[in-house]
């Protein structure tokens, strides 16, 4: 709480602050390169030298702690001279060819050399040259430009939690590189581009495409996870060229996941549908919107007349906007069908009546690092919601204990204090044993006690229970793998029980960017918009495929990749008489089952609203016009409503739809039917069969990322099409690594074996969400391995 003076201005400083932090707070500018307010202090560039009264030499402002009565001068002759001298040294080895550098116009070195650089140099010797390491398809390197501030190294180590970059050699020979040649794998690696003050690290997909000064920046919301990271879209002449993070301390701070940063490349994919298409006599024809709507009306009306509205179902992406969700459910209910769902990967819907209005995190995003303990249930938080993973990591650095109950032993970038890695079938038992341990520990005479009589409390479960109880602040996070588990309902009840017994909060992480909006807008079979209960609920996502309806409407999805059971989805769609697909991308498989394809706008092209996991409504607008004849999905749905002569489809702007949804959300009374945990059965654990565990790779979660070429290249080397087993299982089955085997589930597929110690014994891990594994079928099922 020392009082200091900066350039004659008095400043109250905070405990442990350095001069530069105090100066930044009052807006006194001190030039800097290595100092970054989100990273640790390195003090190695010396650009921030300032004069301090009574100090014989200029001192680095970023590394000098404040002291009572200190008098700092940032613009005196002495300070300026020191800063100019540092700049001269920095420019000695830096190439002076800004015109061909991609950072030109957004470069901190360029800016500061305008203020502190000399226009001539006394250096006539040869400049050094440094080889460029290949960091993969996302980051372009130009290491001769590096000024060794080590921001990227500190970012990788402190924020991303992966030591992938480092400084090698010393003095003039210093190089920033990977120790062993490899691509940078961190899911947050793109942020190194932002922290690098010069053009040493730049974005590869954006390379040489445009200058920073000519881009129009418009705020938007990231479309791939439930946090709703704030972003800026950079456009030039109606083309989306760049996505960068927009600072929002409450959500993503200044960071952004690579998935959100580079998925925009998919917008320009060659698989974009540019014109409406209809299937005529088995041939695809490009037609006008008018014709396409006519065909849609005709073929759907035929089905409705024949088999009634109950045989018509709609499946929608959880990443569609609130407006689209609302209009789609209005359309379906207008036609008389309640078969609508966004929970595509879910398998168990048993507790849907008891679900809250929408899944929420329970705490604020920024409260995650403040917890003393975090229990992850079925969550690969680091890959599923990278920014949330970053917060959990921040927490562990402060000493938070993280516990994980998972089906796979994920290699998180944070320390996991206790973990229970169990087979999918035993997830329930694992949670029950924690619940039992808690009820014994807290001495609560819960009805559950009798239910769990057979459950054995393992040492890990006991340890988790004890530490969870002991923590002053703790939260339980229910992840996607738990949510998509075949006993998800039971797991959710057990998680709630654990929260109740320990007195901690329970939060949910949800699929896609707007599952909240989907719940609220009524894209579920059992509730209307605003959560009003329906007396007779429609079919859920799984039932719609099981019962093989006569007509389907798909919005922004590829069911064989986005749904829980790929083969079931494909069979159902192929037998259907009418499939109307509203989609931005068309695949060969889609051409096999669709009747009408209506091209819709995708990321950056449509206005809309996402509700994030903390209930924040974040609206955004379209920044480029949709390609070809594509139209925003809300407009297509609105016209579809008109074509079917439904009431109330007269909106002229997406804001009107949003306004209506807001009104419904504000006025409608929402109620749930809670059913107590009455039944509890430990399913028979079949040890002779191999249980399939499915993971959706980080860059396969929705159609936009699947279309983004650099992200696909990122995971090309990951050997996604493989049968992963641990060593123990491999020995038991006499399998060797790299051996080709035939895997039989619904269909069969030949793939190599990979030894993966993350997989529990008796289980195999096969990726989902990728084209190659579609023939296999359901995400959880029994497989056979034929040598």
């Amino acid at each position: 709480m020392a009082k200091i003076e900066i350039d004659g201005k008095e400043v109250e400083t905070l405990q442990g602050e350095t001069i530069i932090q105090a100066a930044d707070r009052i807006g006194a500018y001190i030039p800097r390169f290595c100092y970054h307010h989100k990273l640790s202090i390195a003090g190695n560039c010396r650009m921030c030298l300032v004069e301090v009264e009574k100090a014989p030499k200029a001192l680095p402002a970023c590394a000098t702690p404040v002291a009572e009565g200190m008098k700092v001068f940032t613009k005196t002759a002495k300070a300026m001279e020191a800063q100019k001298a540092v700049m001269e040294f920095l420019l000695i080895n830096h190439p002076l060819d800004c015109p061909i550098c991609d950072q030109g116009g957004q470069c901190e070195l360029q800016d500061l050399s305008m203020g502190f650089g000399a226009d001539t140099s006394g250096f006539i010797e040869i400049k050094r040259a440094v080889p460029n390491p290949d960091l993969g398809p996302l980051i372009a390197t130009d290491m001769t430009r590096c000024i060794h501030c080590t921001r990227c190294v500190r970012f990788e180590e402190e924020i991303a939690g992966q030591r992938e970059l480092g400084a090698m050699f010393r003095g003039e020979h210093m190089e920033i590189t990977t120790y062993v040649k490899h691509t940078v794998k961190s899911e947050l690696s793109g942020n190194a581009i932002d922290v690098c003050p010069v053009g040493a690290l730049t974005s590869k997909p954006f390379r040489f495409k445009a200058r920073a000064w000519e881009l129009t920046q418009t705020g938007s919301i990231a479309p791939h996870d439930c946090l709703g990271s704030n972003i800026n879209l950079g456009t030039l002449r109606q083309e989306l060229l760049r996505v960068t993070p927009r600072e929002n301390e409450a959500i993503n701070e200044i960071w952004l996941a690579d998935r959100d940063r580079f998925s925009y490349v998919g917008v320009h994919s060659s698989e974009r549908v540019l014109l409406p298409m209809i299937k005529k006599n088995g041939e695809w024809q490009k037609v006008s919107w008018q014709q396409a709507f006519e065909v849609a009306l005709e073929s759907l009306q035929k089905v409705l007349n024949k088999s009634g509205a109950e045989s018509f179902g709609a499946l929608v992406s959880p990443s569609a906007t609130c407006e689209e969700h609302y209009l789609l459910q209005a359309f379906m209910r207008g036609i008389g069908s309640n078969n609508i769902d966004h929970r595509l990967r879910q398998q168990d819907f048993s507790d849907q009546q008891a679900a809250p209005l929408m899944p929420t995190l329970g705490v604020n995003i920024n409260d995650i690092p403040l917890q003393n303990a975090i229990l992850l249930i079925g969550s690969n938080i680091q890959k599923d919601q990278p920014i949330a993973g970053l917060k959990v990591r921040q927490a562990t650095l402060k000493g938070t204990k993280v516990f994980a109950v998972n089906q796979l032993d994920y290699h998180f970038n944070f320390k996991v204090a206790e973990k229970l890695i169990v087979k999918p079938k035993q997830m329930v038992v694992a949670l029950a044993s924690i619940a039992k341990a808690l009820s014994i520990l807290t001495n609560q005479d819960h009805a559950a006690k009798t239910l769990f009589a057979d459950v054995v409390v393992s040492a890990e479960a006991k340890a988790i229970a004890e530490q969870l109880c002991a923590a002053e602040k703790a939260t339980i996070l229910f992840g996607l793998q738990a949510c998509n588990h075949s006993q998800a309902g039971l797991l959710r009840q057990l998680a709630a029980l654990i929260a109740e017994l320990s007195g901690k909060t329970l939060g949910f992480l949800s699929e896609g960017s707007n599952a909240q909006g989907a719940w609220l807008a009524g894209c579920v079979p059992h509730r209307r918009a605003g959560g009003q209960l329906l007396i007779k609920p429609g079919l859920n996502a799984a039932e719609m495929f099981q019962q093989q309806l006569a007509a389907y409407l798909l919005l922004g999805i590829e069911p064989e990749l986005d749904c829980a059971d790929s083969t079931q989805a494909l069979t159902a769609l192929k037998q259907a008489e009418c499939v109307i697909a509203l989609t931005a991308f068309v695949t060969d498989r889609m051409k096999e089952y669709a009747t009408v394809i209506l091209p819709i706008a995708t990321f950056g092209e449509t206005s809309g609203t996402f509700i994030n996991i903390t209930g924040e409504w974040q609206s955004f607008s379209g920044v480029v016009s949709p390609q070809g004849e594509a139209r925003p999905a809300w407009k297509v749905l609105r016209v579809l409503g008109n074509v079917f002569q439904l009431e109330g489809f007269n909106y002229v702007a997406s804001e009107e739809v949003l306004e209506q949804l807001r009104q419904i959300a504000a006025t409608k009374v929402f109620s749930v039917k809670k059913n107590p945990l009455a039944t509890f059965a430990i399913g028979p654990v079949d040890d002779n069969h191999l249980q399939r565990i499915t993971e959706v790779p980080i860059y396969s979660i929705d159609s936009l990322v699947r279309q983004s070429e650099p992200l696909q290249v990122m995971q090309q080397n990951e050997k996604l099409t493989a049968l992963r087993v641990n060593k123990h299982t491999a020995e038991k089955l006499h399998l060797k690594a790299k051996q080709m085997v035939t895997v039989k589930q619904v269909g069969s597929l030949t793939m190599p074996v990979e030894i993966d110690e993350r997989v529990p014994a008796g289980c195999v891990l096969i990726m989902g969400g990728i084209k190659e594994t579609v023939p296999l079928g359901a995400a959880q099922g029994l497989v056979e391995v034929l040598g």
Partner: protein
Amino acid sequence: MVKTIIRIIKSFTLWELFAGLLLTGKYFWKRKFTVQFPEEKTPVSPRFRGLHALRRYPNGEERCIACKLCEAVCPALAITIDSEQRADGSRRTKSYEIDLFKCIYCGMCEEACPVDSIVLTDMSHYHIAERGENILTKEKLLAIGDKYEEQIAAAREEEGRYR
């Protein structure tokens, strides 16, 4: 009174007519300075700012590195550049267009160019007959550069002394 008398005399002797004819006669016998355009041309300053050109290096490589400084500096927003990474990894323009209807021939683009790529030649004799011809594309600009390189280089050489 006197003035009126002088006026009367002048008008009756056709004085002004003869004064005028005297001037005509003077020029009639003088040396003529009419330039017979287009057979003849007036000399042009090396600083003249006419039609644009994109130059190449002697080895044939185009000079332009797509830095977009000319585009940024152009006060008339006459230049439009699309840049890309060429197969060999270098920074190049995908398209480079100057709209002659917008251009005010200020020469700022030439001043801004770090590699002496875009230049204003001394050509002023061109016309635009059809819509669309006002856009100078990269191919046209390079062709102009190729054709007049000698002249362009000579003019820069001469001007270089004053820079």
